[in-house]
């Protein structure tokens, strides 16, 4: 796995074509096709993935998640950045533009 690039509010991400995200109830399972690898994602992660569309800056995604979940901005940012860094390293998402 390659080190994940730094993320910022300006970062725009997209889900890689080789990653298949399947929602299951409020959660999701990801299949990384090239590696035949599955990942389980809990509710907030699944919602975050749903908001990644290749156009919306990460700052807007964080704002949307803040509206939907009862969590502090600091906690949410730390969790989402860590989650996305893992997904970048796992070849699930990649940076479209902005860092």
């Amino acid at each position: 796995m390659t080190p994940a690039p730094p993320l910022s509010h300006a970062t725009v991400l997209h889900i890689r074509p080789g990653a298949l995200v399947k929602r299951i109830q409020q959660e999701a399972v990801i299949l990384v096709l090239a590696e035949n690898r599955f990942l389980a994602v809990t509710e907030v992660g699944a919602r975050t993935l749903e908001l990644i569309d290749g156009q919306t800056p990460l700052g807007d995604i964080l704002a949307r998640l803040l509206e939907e979940y009862d969590v502090s901005r600091e906690q949410l940012e730390a969790d989402v950045y860590a989650f996305l860094s893992q997904l970048i390293a796992a070849n699930v998402v990649e940076v479209e533009r902005g860092r």
């Binding site: 298949l20 399947k22 299951i24 109830q25 399972v29 299949l31 096709l33 035949n36 389980a40």
Partner: protein, 302 residues
């Protein structure tokens, strides 16, 4: 992979031009290049035809590898290569032979390479059967299953987790009908989740296979994911989050390492459909005398 087992399938000698045969496996029609001898779970198909033995599978330009790995086959480190092409999938195990599965999953050609492969055809034929079913939207789960009051109850887990023992003892001691021992074919969609019991259970003797005249399918009522538990802990079950349950089904799918991307995607859809429509729970099952009775109580009266 279908690993070491008693010899249950014995092949006629693979001769060029030998007529093929047809079988029903997990309720699906499968044409084979060589005679698959009668097994209770492999019944003759009502559809008569013949298929010639062929060594020319497809043009090399159509082929690209899905994987190449070294794994244990019959306790022997073996190079296994899987190729996919528009015509179908080929699995080659060095020293054991090759099996080709047509893209529609309805036709199978295999070439055992030596005496061992002929004596133990399941080593190369087994993955072929699993791939053939998968291409027809039926996946195989590493699990055992019994028939409970509301339908099939599956016990899935890693090797040694106790799934075969559970099914065997629930059957012998508590009156449950064993449906599968180690490999459970299933189909899952929003409208139906069924177990298809007519599949060779390679670790069971012929007399313990599912009866040929038994139903083609059973509704799946529940899936238990077996978890290790200390010997002095009580038997208990608990809910599983849907993503973890789906992940477990995907990970315990038989021979999925051989699946091309299209089949992996179908497996993901089938696994999520199964989890969305069937109750899935963790079963903490300590291996000690008496725990089977506790599991039977959890399941209710057969």
């Amino acid at each position: 992979m279908l690993a070491s087992s008693d010899v249950l399938l014995t092949l006629s000698r693979p001769l060029a031009g030998t007529p093929g045969t047809a079988a029903l496996i997990a309720g699906l029609r499968l044409r084979a290049s060589q005679t698959i001898p009668a097994l209770p779970a492999l019944r003759p198909s009502p559809f008569a035809f013949s298929v010639g033995y062929s060594s020319a599978i497809f043009a090399p330009t159509d082929v690209f590898p899905v994987l190449s790995l070294t794994t244990l086959v019959a306790d022997t480190p073996t190079e296994v290569t899987c190729h996919v092409a528009p015509a179908g999938i080929t699995v080659h195990a060095t020293g054991f032979g090759e099996v080709f599965i047509a893209a529609d999953g309805c036709r199978l050609t295999w070439h055992p390479s030596d005496d061992l492969a002929r004596q133990r055809p399941e080593l190369i034929l087994g993955p072929g059967l699993v791939l053939a079913l998968a291409l027809q939207q039926v996946f195989c789960l590493h699990s055992s299953a019994v028939l409970g009051p509301e339908g099939a109850v599956l016990f899935s887990g890693d090797s040694g987790a106790g799934k075969s023992t559970l099914a065997a003892r629930l059957s012998a001691l508590h009156g449950y009908q064993r449906l599968t021992d180690d490999i459970t074919p299933f189909t899952a969609s929003a409208s139906e989740c069924s177990l298809l019991p007519h599949f060779p259970q390679l670790k069971l003797p012929p007399e313990s296979q599912h009866p040929a005249d038994a139903p083609e399918r059973y509704p799946i009522a529940r899936l238990y994911l077996l978890s290790e538990s200390p010997a002095d802990a009580p038997v208990r079950d608990e809910p599983v989050s849907p993503s973890v349950a789906a992940l477990s089904v995907c990970r315990h799918a038989v021979a999925s390492r051989l699946f091309p991307e299209s089949l992996m995607a179908r497996l993901l859809h089938a696994s999520t459909a199964l989890v969305e429509n069937v109750e899935v729970r963790h079963l903490h099952y300590p291996k000690r005398p008496g725990s089977i009775a506790d599991v039977a109580r959890l399941l209710g009266t057969p």
